[in-house]
Symmetry: C2
Subunit: 380 residues, 2 copies
Amino acid sequence: MIKQYLLSPGPTPIPNEVALAMSETMIHHRTPQFNKIFDEARDGLKKLFGTKNDVLMLASSGTGAMEASVANLFSHGDRVLVINGGKFGERWLNISNAYGLNPIEMKVEWGQAVKVADVEKQLKANPDIQGVMIQASETSTTVLHPVKEIAKLTQNGPLFLVDGVTAVGVVALPLDDWGIDVLVSGSQKALMLPPGLGFIALSDRAWEKTQKAKLPRFYFDLNLERKNQQKGSGAFTPAVSLIFGLRASLQMIEREGLQNVYARHDRLCRATRAGATALGLKLLAAEDPSPAATGIYLPNGIDADAVLEYLRDKMNVTLAEGQDQLKGKAIRIAHIGYMGAFDVITAIAALEMALRKFGAEIPFGHGVAAAQEVLMEALA
Amino acid sequence: MIKQYLLSPGPTPIPNEVALAMSETMIHHRTPQFNKIFDEARDGLKKLFGTKNDVLMLASSGTGAMEASVANLFSHGDRVLVINGGKFGERWLNISNAYGLNPIEMKVEWGQAVKVADVEKQLKANPDIQGVMIQASETSTTVLHPVKEIAKLTQNGPLFLVDGVTAVGVVALPLDDWGIDVLVSGSQKALMLPPGLGFIALSDRAWEKTQKAKLPRFYFDLNLERKNQQKGSGAFTPAVSLIFGLRASLQMIEREGLQNVYARHDRLCRATRAGATALGLKLLAAEDPSPAATGIYLPNGIDADAVLEYLRDKMNVTLAEGQDQLKGKAIRIAHIGYMGAFDVITAIAALEMALRKFGAEIPFGHGVAAAQEVLMEALA
């Protein structure tokens, strides 16, 4: 078994079309040739983020874009509400603390989405809150938070900052329509690129707020970036090849059709859940699943990390681990980005085989069959 | 469903490692730099073909290498025995006729291997036979012919010409040990390369015979090629990038281990057969299956070509068609080259789904489960 099957929630598989685009001859980033490519990528990103405003490209990971939003929008001691329902919720908290903000941590049980009413209560109880931070898709727990509903609560109040790293290109998150104030993402997820690009879009009122924000920033100075990017390049050296690839991946998404892309992620997610459920396995996100990845509890007494290691080293199938409190208990199957029906089939079939190897009584093909039933939907 | 799954018996999927090697900077083919790469590929091919003699690389498809063997070994009117059990057996016949040989056609029922006793009879009845031509793996019927046994019959008699296009790198065919006189192959099969290279190895007595052979040849003059290739390049311009890739693919095979490569092909073949059988489908090669591909009859009343079109256009899964008398009746699933366990799972799951779409009563997951049982063998 020599062939590798990558089913992790980032980095995700790179389509050849994107890989070839990234192999184009290197060009200088202060040239009309690069400006044209950059502008085309800018246009594509605006459609993807659902905004007339700029979507800035940063040579950073998604975390860099998260940090940029904090550094550009707040001042020391500002009160923010951090919805923390997993590893990435925690990250908003860590960034807020690192910059001397005054965060209220709203803990959400892992595997659950935050309740809109609870957010509303917090906002009412703390009228000094300047910003609300959330993940659209919390990758660590494979949960989708109710972004649209929370955006309604923040319309005339605090800024609403959404980490869309595993959500942009997976579910609709129209920044302008929903009134999201900050939407960040990264390249190595639904955009089918290697890691290395962060994206960030701001609402009009968020841009206004940057004028008053006093936190220090230099590399991530978004006003400086905006000024430069509107002229067709970055303030600092942009990641040229990745932007070649970005233009190609945005073209692929456009060709497939954004609604079809969302529908595909949703279908692959439901197929994966059906497969796991048919095997008698419990899902991490019982309700409100993220279409980016599916967390699955393994049977009691089976070490999930050992199963994952076996899958990776003996079967060449890379899935993702449970983090922190889920370590050794759960696995995550990704279906984000350049994934098709038979990647889900591969994941479920491989899981069936690995679980039997670890002593579980697994009837081969049962999970696969349940997934197939869902995947048939796509076949006209 | 945007992602493509290529499961055809050539071209086969290209590993990134090979694709990257082929993207190396173009160099001139009369340089020490190229000679070194060429020589390393030569050495690797000798191991693969099981011979101390030269394995020549031709800028041609496998058919070019077949033609080269005829043009270099025979004279007008020579009597040859052509074992014709499928499309590629027919090809030996067509080449023989095109060159004015005097072939005896030995028809073998499609789906069956030739009987060694029948070959023996023909050889005894026609002592003027100068050459015997066969496919090791007849790709059109997915049958493996008994090369080793027939080679025993030809030791002191006619030359034995073996088309190994879908057999070299799939099953052992040691030219020197078995006393094969000609073994040809192509790049786009087990060697995991794009089409464009033909390979040909000759026994000592075949090389001697070239001196007496009077058929015309220029581009495929094997003595001229041998003289040049021993000096590290082709007589005419060699396919430089493909040879870069060939060196890489031979290294991959060496790393996996040739015996492991053979075992993998055998296992994937048995898994595919088990999957199809569990679905109640009849196999094309009831006995003597080729580990390169598996031919499967579809249920009566279902148009196999329509199913294949559906698989390709709606499900992005490319399998191969039944040819000639099998057209519309059978399909072929390839498991040759850069294939792993989950390619077989993909093929069987996709077939289950497509067959149901065409009205067959297919219990999802049954074929997959049978394949999984076989694939488990590889898991220590």
